[in-house]
Subunit: 349 residues, 3 copies
């Protein structure tokens, strides 16, 4: 009689499998190619000149042609899913995400994560796991690193709670924390090619910009994207995985859609330097129409020639809210808000 094995599939880690200081090397290094750039263009309405044009990249001092920063982020992040969040109940937050150098076709990324915090919830059924993940390239150099924390199920409710430890994460990176990659020189910046005349000096802290356009989501598109990042969380692909029969859209799909829509606004925000914080406020599903808006939170000059940094809040909403309300009087996110992302971009001075 044939033998059936269950130990040869990945069951993911439960809360009690994590210990502070544990380092997990995630599987499947992944080479980035021009095919990724093309698919990203097909999936998101991006028109930023730097990732669009090798010529433009050369004109701002970059010898090789970077892909969009979020391609690197989604790939690096996707690798952590089978080990960190396969049994996650919720993705609670991000912090201290820095883009150390542009990712270019030919780069191979691998990711490892260190557990930097643990806190069992009072219900005894779940706990919060904090990890710092680092994506390195084929030269062993850091490309991207970030922290996130997720709520994970316990396998055994009777397992003892670990010593709680909550890491001290910055609510936002300061401009001086940014890793400005070697290379960018915006002194000869071609704003006609970029499609935008507004520069660093034209933006004021507190200013809000409605990006006007909307995109109605479909299931095949978000699945193509999420698979491209080798993110295997079943709720994105399998209508039998959730009681309501809907495929939950990967939060990164909403981030990329909102970032691309923001071209109709700060189109000179050519490079993402950091993500300070991010909240997936509400789930997204097919047939909803996504809009985006930005708010200028901070600004700073950098050491790179002609390069300034803007700290922006990127908000994605289901339906367009021209009042651009983020929270109601009760302090809760307004109805329709899907994403609240706080990030730094580089822009010509």
């Amino acid at each position: 009689m044939s033998k059936t094995t269950t130990g040869k599939t990945n069951a993911g880690n439960s809360f009690e499998d994590f210990t502070v200081g544990r380092v997990i090397e995630h599987a499947t290094p992944r080479t980035i190619t021009e095919g990724d750039r093309a698919l990203y263009r097909a999936l998101y309405p991006t028109r930023f000149a730097l990732p669009s044009s090798a010529e433009f990249a050369h004109s701002v001092g970059l010898e090789q042609h970077p892909v969009e920063e979020l391609i690197g982020f989604h790939i690096a992040f996707g690798k952590t899913v089978p080990d960190v969040s396969l049994n996650a109940v919720a993705n609670l937050g991000y912090a201290e995400c820095r883009f150390h150098q542009p990712v270019v076709p030919g780069d191979t990324l691998r990711t490892k994560s260190e557990v930097i915090g643990l806190k069992q919830n009072s219900n005894g059924k779940t706990g919060v796991v904090y990890v710092r993940s680092t994506a390195t390239n084929q030269r062993g150099e850091v490309a991207i690193d970030w922290c996130r924390w997720v709520m994970v199920n316990k396998r055994d409710e009777d397992a003892p709670a670990p010593e709680p430890f909550v890491p001290d994460l910055k609510p936002a990176l300061a401009a001086t924390d940014l890793k400005i990659p070697a290379g960018p020189d915006f002194t000869a910046y071609d704003e006609v090619a970029a499609g935008e005349k507004h520069r660093f000096g034209d933006y004021e802290v507190g200013e809000k910009i409605d990006h006007v356009d909307g995109v109605t989501l479909t299931d095949p598109e978000h699945m193509l994207a999420t698979r491209l990042w080798q993110n295997t969380a079943k709720v994105h692909f399998n209508t039998q995985a959730r009681p309501d029969g809907n495929r939950l859209i990967y939060g990164g799909h909403v981030i990329s859609m909102a970032r691309a829509l923001s071209f109709n606004g700060p189109a000179n925000a050519q490079l993402i330097a950091a993500i300070n914080a991010g909240a997936h406020v509400a789930p997204a599903y097919a047939d909803r129409t996504i809009y985006a808006r930005s708010e200028v939170l901070d600004k700073a000059e950098t050491d790179a020639p002609g390069v300034g940094a803007l700290r922006l809040r990127l908000v994605a909403t289901r339906g367009r809210d021209e009042s651009m309300t983020l929270r109601g009087e009760d302090g809760k996110y307004a109805d329709g808000v899907l994403l609240d992302l706080d990030y730094w971009v580089l822009i010509p001075i």
Copy 2:
């Protein structure tokens, strides 16, 4: 209190923003890659041997491997949308489109347009804008140029009408007007690899060919295509943009679908040399099944070795019409006709 800006998004040009002689440099240069070729294959049932096989391209004298001509056209055209047709009511026509040289992966295209004609409509609310657009590559050489005219809304109905000027555009390019790119030599043409034994001499003016096969359209596919060309017209992506809640399919998607279907027919029509005229006769939406047929309008030899030119009418229809009726007795397009495209292709003699 925070400030809300509306001046940092693109509102597009209205009729009164155009003046004859005005030149607009369109944003976002775009590098073509092998990823574009792969996506085009995934989106359209194309099997023409030259763009399919680098070996075949070399065998007909082309050192580098061109992508389909329509990839270059859609990309070059897409750049004009935010400046020329964001406020367009209708895309009225094309003329004098020539493919000056094959576009190959690594080429970066940018597009500029000159306003060559203006005519306000008698209703005082709209006007027709004629532009000649030119796409150049990273060497500053012309890759593609074409004229089109669109009906554009006025911002202010009381604005004075400009002096009307209608440019003198050729109803069709003559064979001697074609820019046959340096390189093609069809004297050692491999018709087995190409999948077609019929050559230049086998086609008669007046002959009609039904391409038999049909493809049922879907929303995710046309959005992937249209985004790939960085065409941002919102009616293609946003179900809230039109009263009927349908996404209007980019006319170029229908052109590419019909051209690909025409492989089951003149499969040796390897290169598009020119588009003489084109009418998007009726809108296309998801769930409709597209068929195509061709009619030979003219033929001519060229100076390139072994290379002949056929002028074809490519008609796309919703549903198959084996009678191949283009117009009814009233002179109007027959029901179901979506596209009437008049173009020149290069074919082995």
Copy 3:
């Protein structure tokens, strides 16, 4: 009056067009690119380290970075459709499929088929055609070869039956029949990068593995895939081609989906060496959720350093069957079984 031609489209071959020994050179050589790899990743949840990472490929002795074996197979197979199976009633089986060398970006594949058997059915309306197809690269070297047999309609029921000839095909290739490509050396295999600690010695003949995860199919995705392989069978694309209005999903889409899902199991099965047999047991349509499981049928060492071979049965089902029943007591395939594929993979010892 204009002339309408019907002789310039491909009507496909009918049963009486095939004669034993006839060789058909199939049209449209096709160059493989990094775009194909990216699209494959977007279409299937594959995470096998070797096709994912150029670095990993180098680490196991491969100078160039192969694409998934099924990319080569689907492309090579697609070329045979217009000549072999355009008028097919059913795709009856595969045998003796061997992957002679990895396919890498830049390779151009062309396919030819030799008719190796014919047998008219007793109803006089159809017959079975056996072909051996061979895909060669730009150096004229064999990349993949395989046999398949299809049931094809007769054009004329009164045409005489050919002398029946049924070729002697192996029910399965022996391990000694495999073409192990030059190169693979698994002696320094990185199982952390691969995401799997189980190796050749950990698998027992008779062992069954449930791959757990499911993917719900959509129409746009299987059409993108099937077009990418230049497979033009109209039932996959045209809702008017079948009485039920459904698009039939290309059987190869189910093979690729199941192979990708099997990563959650024998993730070290890095290279497909052969396909012994395959049955598309039931048709697949959009909105069905596909699951997969594997059974170890045989195992053998090879001459390549550190490289073992596993013979696996890969079963795809509609819905998950944890009992992993292949056939009922009546010997017929269990309800829900879509695919029964018998193949050899290479795995580190």
